[in-house]
Subunit: 221 residues, 2 copies
């Protein structure tokens, strides 16, 4: 049995994507906490290209990029398949996972800006949510792929827990239940999956951490 190690940071939802995938697969792993303000020699050694978390170390193999890691985990351990056996459904899942990857920087920009930049980022984020609400989630969907948790749920997972904290700190309600009933239903359902419910960062600790991060970012030139 090869050892599994995960290099991550405490409140990164990219790290949580990997944690959820490992938990869903029932994989035991050692978690190595990284201080991104310093970037340890370990991180630079294992992710020389991006020097970012998460990094998965499986035996002598290293995998970087959260969604690449999630696909690797899915292909390596069989429990709770995160992709359909049907190639068209797989393509649809990959399409939406990529859409979320490309667009979610807008929500990040809501968080780390003010003024006009923030207003633009709010507009872009709302467009992303509208597209997801109307096209990626069916009216009767429990999760993105139907009843079982999958790749798109993991990709969008950060919005389940992080969003309400960002909304509170920034003072803007983005995911209004009236405008986005399907996404709000999804958040509730997603957080009820045991592997997710049992593996979310502590809300109060995260609130303080995220609030301080924003203040530091806005104060820096």
């Amino acid at each position: 049995m090869e050892t599994v190690k995960l290099i991550g940071t405490p409140f990164s939802f990219f790290t949580y994507r990997v944690i959820w995938a490992l938990k869903l697969k029932g994989v035991n792993y050692e978690y190595i906490d990284e201080d991104m303000s310093k970037k340890s020699p370990l991180l630079v050694k294992y992710n020389p290209i991006h020097k970012k978390v998460p990094v998965l170390i499986h035996g002598d193999k290293t995998i970087c990029e959260s969604m690449v890691i999630v696909e690797y985990i899915n292909e390596t351990w069989q429990l709770n398949p995160l992709l359909s056996t049907d190639s068209y459904e797989r393509a649809t899942s990959r399409f939406w996972a990529k859409y979320i990857e490309v667009k979610s920087h807008n929500t990040w920009n809501v968080f780390c800006n003010t003024g006009e930049k923030q207003q633009n980022a709010i507009k872009e984020s709302l467009e992303m949510f509208k597209t997801i609400e109307e096209n990626a989630l069916g009216e009767n969907n429990i999760l993105f792929g139907g009843e079982n948790i999958g790749l798109v749920d993991i990709a969008f997972g950060g919005y389940s827990h992080w969003m309400e904290i960002i909304e509170e700190i920034v003072g803007v309600k983005l995911l209004d239940p009236h405008n986005f009933p399907r996404i709000n239903k999804w958040i509730k359902n997603f957080k009820e999956v045991k592997a997710i419910k049992d593996n979310l960062p502590n809300r109060d600790e995260m609130f303080v951490y995220v609030k301080n991060s924003r203040e530091r970012m806005l104060a820096s030139p």
Copy 2:
């Protein structure tokens, strides 16, 4: 046998990624030429989210996003597998395909800008090439994955034929053989693969088209 249709534009290397994948798999398809200045009802119907080419229509199934389509084609038709059977090698290929997807907009910015913006884009493009030269291509590699053409070759494929035209039009040599011997060897090897060699846009026609595109872009406010 379900029909296969591809909506594309003549000189788009995103479209060519799909053409190469279909040719490598020996799939017959109907090509539908799209005029992106008008965006046909067909394109809007089949790709309502992005309204971009390429779009693959396989029977009653529609797949968008070039690299998602390439993975779909790879999983649907067995000839010339584009990904390894080994999950770690697959993850490595997906990592580099994603790296190229994320970074290649820099080369686009070399093409459609002048002055400082172009200088920055040149710098970023050279960094991307350096990373690929030193990390993604082994000294003895024929192609990215070794001897056989794969996902990363298809992702990077645009650089094989488009780059020299862009360099000529813009008047900057980016892929200097002295600085990037491995990438230059890869370009030569990639263009010798029969499915690629037989399916590249005509150089002279492309030159005129690309030159006109740049002039139009620089003239528009």
